[in-house]
Symmetry: C2
């Protein structure tokens, strides 16, 4: 069955410009994977009358209406109440959801107020979508010619709920016989325009599989999507396209699908049985923290130091004062000494040193955005890399960490590098 | 003059979920400053018929319609063409814009193709808004009961154009005499529902100033907005309301407006002339990294250690092995020893220790989400705090850092705490 969709985000905070509607993007990309066309996004405030108008309008131009937001405990939250009234349906208490909400409050050791019970009310006759990352459950409700999906507003609740709970129900409801498979290639160290230029002929000729580039925060991804009657055929089509793409731009690939630079680096370190430590100045723990975001990282991450001041580099990390006097703290020499010392102190296989001028102002006579990365391998070989970034402090700190992770992945993947 | 607005973003890439509509948030926040109510955001694809429907609908429910996107050189770009046709107006060549586009191509050393001239076409009779960061000019056009503002799609062109070109024109057009002032109070350690319960009577009785609660990621804010004829009066109204709010929930306040937990903590530390260091296990540098996100933090942050493994806690930080054997690494005793040792090693005034089971699985016989925070003050007094969080690793790590920052702010603000 073929259907068009409209996404309605509910929340006055969106109309006041306090938060960005990232939910519409996420839901759109998910619906695109199911082959559902989205013709409109609508944002409406916490106002029953205007929400009601938006629902009626959406019903006139779409078969599937996906709502996000307005399922919370406060009196401002009125999405399900408005839909129920519009459809002439009751809201009924869902006991599973209520038990789950009570358990949530027990777990975080807080007292549950009466208004939180309201979150367990659902549309009579709907399929309840459990919320595994928060309290308000979602709903899937088919009525007449329309399907209504209600999701919570916070992205960290909404995204897994859509992916794990709503999407399979929707796919089943569509009685989809076509297999749609997607595979994402992840690149770092190449701009979107440059990547597109190198595969322009493929982008222009694409039909099945399709190839969709997307850039964000220094990374570029290519999503390959195949639609066929069998999974084997879809996989074959994807692999064929992947091979062609990698023959063009494969040297910038760092991972697939849900991989991140940190997860790819961690995986590679664990595969090679190597431990790692880091000494960080401008990034002040962000490199180690990004690694620690990956479950299982304790197999490789020993720990390390944050040496934010020049004194701490000398007194705690044991770098020679004369080295800093001669080369400055923002130098290949200092980064190298940091990497060597932390590797020795923490008895790890690999040592990383990060030092630079985070910005917005210059530091130790180096322009904002000047960053030195040093990586010392198990055989004590030293690799250093210089970055010239912007004057934006926290963009620089994140970019420095991402580049270090990418540099590490590259070093650990090169056959010429002896480990 | 009083007006309502609707924001229409045009672009199929938005409906495919390839990019997020950050323009609507930006424009909304700018319009809020002018006291203009936004009742709807709409996103529509590069389709003349559906865009035309969206324009007609917006005219029926708003006086001001702000468009972003669809002003580029390709045949997909049809915003101004569709508006011109709908209003029965012509598009005319704007020579200033044309010269500017030609100059742009010269500057980047590229050949200008014929279709780029299309970007210099504007609605006959409009006020042209120069584009100082790209090619397509914007437009301000008043027609009948409506005002139409057309802006380019790329945020780095749209945002400065709105701020510098469109906003003054709009303010003048509104002939605004009313002063609108906002003031944000920031809270931590209280849920949105609980906070609302404590100020429900105020929320229900609000007229001027208005009070708008907003929750995100463990924090809650209250935005107080006053509309009056003079700034002094607006300030007086805001202060009056702030005092009443703080008398109810002031013990959870940590800052104002653009403050973050990290910036408030840093400010307090610098005011008191205190240095800080941290030893981090589950958070693995995230606490120090959050502090380092604040410019000027080098006045207080010395550095610290990431001791991810039990061995590194003993070998590098110098905690007694027997303490870990007796109490485990996830314990008040271990957190305290970490805070004391790092304070001593880094010769700082304050030491922080963070240890716990990040999740998703348990760690050292402690359930996922069990976190111990220890803070040692300059007088060597120790404060510890136990958190029971969820099984979500990275939410837990961030919550542990936020709670530590909040705990620190509280300790540094209490008169009873001797520093």
């Amino acid at each position: 069955m073929k259907m068009n969709a409209e996404i309605i985000a509910v929340g006055s905070e969106l109309l006041l410009g306090q938060i960005t509607n990232t939910n519409a993007r996420y839901i759109s990309s998910q619906l695109a994977e199911l082959g559902i066309n989205v013709y409109y996004h609508t944002v409406v405030g916490d106002n029953a009358e205007r929400l009601n108008q938006a629902i009626k309008l959406a019903e006139s131009r779409a078969e599937l209406i996906v709502f996000s937001g307005g399922l919370g405990p406060t009196k401002d939250d009125l999405t399900k109440e408005t839909i129920a009234k519009h459809l002439g349906k009751d809201l009924v208490m869902d006991n599973t959801a209520l038990v789950s909400i009570e358990a949530f409050f027990q777990r975080v050791n807080r007292t549950m107020t009466e208004n939180n019970k309201k979150q367990a009310l659902v549309l009579d006759g709907c399929q309840v979508l459990p919320n595994n990352h928060g309290m308000a459950p979602g709903m899937f409700y088919s009525h007449g010619k329309h399907v209504y999906i209600l999701l919570p507003g916070p992205p960290k609740e909404m995204e897994p709920m859509f992916q794990i709970e709503a999407k399979p129900v929707l796919a089943k409801w569509l009685n989809q016989e076509e297999i749609i498979l997607s595979h994402v290639l992840r690149f770092y160290g190449i701009g979107e325009a440059e990547l597109e230029t190198q595969i322009m002929d493929l982008l222009e000729a694409q039909t099945n599989p399709t190839i969709a580039p997307l850039a964000s925060d220094g990374e570029v991804t290519l999503r390959i999507t195949a639609k066929t009657s069998t999974e084997a055929e879809a996989l074959r089509l994807i692999q064929e396209t992947e091979q062609i793409l990698l023959s063009r731009v494969g040297n910038h690939l760092y991972g697939y699908n849900d991989d991140s630079l940190a997860s790819s680096a961690t995986k590679r370190l664990i595969e090679l049985g190597l431990t790692i430590s880091a000494a960080e100045s401008l990034t002040a723990g962000l490199f180690q923290s990004e690694l620690a975001a990956i479950p299982g990282v304790s197999e490789t991450l020993v720990g390390g130091m944050v040496t934010y001041t020049a004194d701490s580099k000398v007194n705690q990390l044991g770098i020679e004062r004369s080295l800093i006097d001669q080369f400055g703290v923002v130098s290949a020499e200092c980064a190298t000494a940091m990497a060597k010392r932390v590797k020795m102190m923490f008895e790890s296989d690999i040592g990383v040193g990060l030092t630079g001028a985070a910005g917005p102002s210059s530091h130790d006579n180096q322009a904002a955005g000047t960053v030195w990365i040093a990586i010392v391998l198990p055989n004590d070989e030293v690799y250093t890399h210089l970055l010239h970034l912007s004057d934006m402090r926290n963009t620089n700190r994140l970019r420095a960490v991402k580049k270090t992770l990418h540099y590490l992945i590259q070093l650990l993947s090169q056959k010429s590098v002896k480990i």
